[in-house]
Amino acid sequence: MSQKKPEKLIDENDVRFDGRKLNEMRTVKIEVGILGNADGSAYIEQGKNKILAALYGPREIHPKHQALPDRAALRCRYHMAPFSVQERKSPAPSRREQELSKVIRESLEPSIFTEYYPRTAIDLFIEVLQADGGTRCAGITAASVALADAGIPMRDLVSACAAGKVEGRLVVDLSDMEDKGGEADMPVAYMPNLNAVTLLQMDGMLTGEEFEQVLNLALEGCKQVNQLQREALKAKYEAAKEKGKEEEAEEEAAE
C-alpha cells in the first residue's frame, strides 16, 4: 500500500525517516533452498523488498545456437511482479528490466567457473515480489546465494549494496523513497575476497570527493551483506546436519 512521503527524509539528528542511521542498512533476511524444483534457490527480504531467485542448470541449452563452445552460457531474467509496485506494472519486460537483466548477468558471471560446463546453460530467474528500492542489489545478493546453493563452482560470493546521497547526506542502502527523493544512487556488487567490483552504476550528481565516499560506503555495505550470505548458507547445512543426527538417533533407538 502507498506510503506518504515525509516532509524530510532525514532529520536534523541524521536519523532517516525509517529510523535508520546514515550508515545503517535495512534488516536483511536470507533463506536458502526454498524452491522445490530449482537446482538452487534463495529468498531475500531487505526492508520491504521481497525477492526470489532460482537457478536451473547447468543444463542443455535451448535454442542450441546460444551454446558457447568454451563455457556455459549464463542467462538471467530480472522480472518484477505486476503487484510489486504502487502502480501495476505490465508483466511484459520493460527496458529497465532488460537492462537490469544484462548488468546482473555481468555482475555474476565473473564469480562463476563457467568454463567447467561448456555448451550448457545456467539459467537464473529473479522475481521481485515486492519492491522498495535497491531491488537489483538484493536480487544479485539472493542470486549469488542461489548459485552457491546449486553447488555451482564459484570464485567468491557476489554481495551487492547501494549507497547514495539524500538531502545532502551520504547514506547506505537507499529505500525507494530515498532513491526517488534523493540526489544520487550508486548500486555496487562486489566480491570481497577478490576486491572485485562487478556491478557499478550511478545516477544522480556527485562531486569527486563524494563519489569516493559513496563508493566506500557501498563497499562497506557489500561486506556486511557478504556475512549475512555466509550465515544463511551455513544455516541451511547446519539444519540438514541436525536433522540427519536426529534421524540417526531415531534409527538407533528403533534398533
Binding site: 529497465r96 537492462e99 562487478t198 557499478l200 552504476q201 550511478m202
Partner: protein, 265 residues
C-alpha cells in the same frame, strides 16, 4: 568478417601492447580517436548531429511532439531516448526489436542527460498534468567500430544543443504554432567517457578490436561543473575500487576536452 573479428593472434598482440602502455593504433592509453562533429544535417528533424569517432559513426536526430506528462512529474516535459543498432552498421547487428545492447546504450545516454538535468523540462510544460512537449532523442548507429556509448552521448548532446523549438501560443487549451524558432532550453552539458580494462590496464575510447579483447567496460558521465552524473559498468570482468577512482579522475579531465567540441565558449 576477418577484419571485424580480430584474429586471435591480433587479440594477443593488442593485449601485449596494452600491458606495456601502448596501443595498436599508436594512441596513448588516455587518447581519444579523432572526433568529427557536424550539426544540423537533417532538416526535417528539430535537431541533429553526427559524430565520427575514428570509424565509429553515430547520427542523432531529435523530434518534439505534444503529449501527456508522467503522473509523478505533471509540470515537466518528457525526455525519451531510443537507440537503433541499424543492420547496415555492422555484420553483427540484425534487424528486429531492440536487443539488450541497444536498450543499454539508450539508457546510458538517457541517464547522463536526465541526471545532469540538461534539458529544462519545466519549460516544456504547456498545461500542467495534461499537455507537455516530449523530446525524442533517437540514436542511430551508422558504423560500429567500438565505443558506441561515448559517440552516441556526444552526438545526443550536440543534437540537443542544435534543437530548435517552434514558437507557439496557447488558445483555449490548443497549441497554435507561430512562425519562427527558438533554441531548446538547455542548462547542462553531460559528456560520457568510457574505459576498457584489458589485463590490469585502463584505456579510454576502446575501438572495436580492443572491445573484443577487453575484460570489462566502465562509462562515467561528467556534467559541466565536473560532477559525475551517471555511471555504468559492462562486460564480464571486474574493477577494483582503486581503478574506479582513477577512472573517475581521468573522466573528469577528458569530459572537459570533449565538451569543447559541442559548446564553444
Amino acid at each position: 568478417m576477418s577484419s571485424i573479428m580480430a584474429a586471435k593472434v591480433r587479440q594477443k598482440r593488442i593485449a601485449q601492447l596494452i600491458a606495456r602502455g601502448k596501443r595498436l593504433d599508436g594512441r596513448e592509453p588516455t587518447d581519444y580517436r579523432e572526433i568529427q562533429l557536424e550539426s544540423g544535417l537533417i532538416e526535417r528533424a528539430e535537431g541533429s548531429a553526427r559524430v565520427r569517432l575514428g570509424k565509429t559513426e553515430v547520427l542523432v536526430g531529435t523530434k518534439i511532439e505534444v503529449g501527456e506528462p508522467f503522473l509523478d512529474t505533471p509540470n515537466e516535459g518528457v525526455l525519451t531516448v531510443n537507440a537503433e543498432l541499424v543492420p547496415l552498421a555492422s555484420p553483427t547487428f540484425e534487424p528486429g526489436p531492440p536487443d539488450e545492447n541497444s536498450v543499454e546504450l539508450a539508457r546510458v545516454v538517457d541517464r547522463g542527460i536526465r541526471e545532469s538535468k540538461a534539458i529544462v523540462l519545466e519549460d516544456l510544460c504547456v498545461e500542467p498534468g495534461k499537455k507537455v512537449f516530449i523530446v525524442f532523442v533517437d540514436v542511430y548507429v551508422l558504423n560500429h567500430d567500438g565505443n558506441l556509448i561515448d559517440a552516441s552521448a556526444l552526438a545526443a548532446l550536440a543534437a540537443l544543443v542544435n534543437t530548435k523549438m517552434f514558437n507557439y501560443e496557447v488558445k483555449e487549451g490548443e497549441i497554435k504554432i507561430k512562425p519562427g524558432y527558438k533554441p531548446l532550453p538547455i542548462r547542462n552539458y553531460p559528456v560520457a567517457v568510457t574505459f576498457a580494462k584489458i589485463g590490469d590496464k585502463l584505456i579510454v575510447d576502446p575501438w572495436l578490436e580492443e572491445e573484443h579483447v577487453m575484460d570489462a567496460r566502465l562509462t562515467l558521465a561528467a556534467e559541466k561543473d565536473g560532477k559525475i552524473c551517471a555511471m555504468q559498468k559492462g562486460g564480464y570482468g571486474y574493477f577494483t575500487a582503486q581503478e574506479i577512482l582513477e577512472a573517475s579522475k581521468i573522466a573528469q579531465q577528458k569530459a572537459v576536452e570533449l565538451r569543447k567540441l559541442v559548446v564553444k565558449e
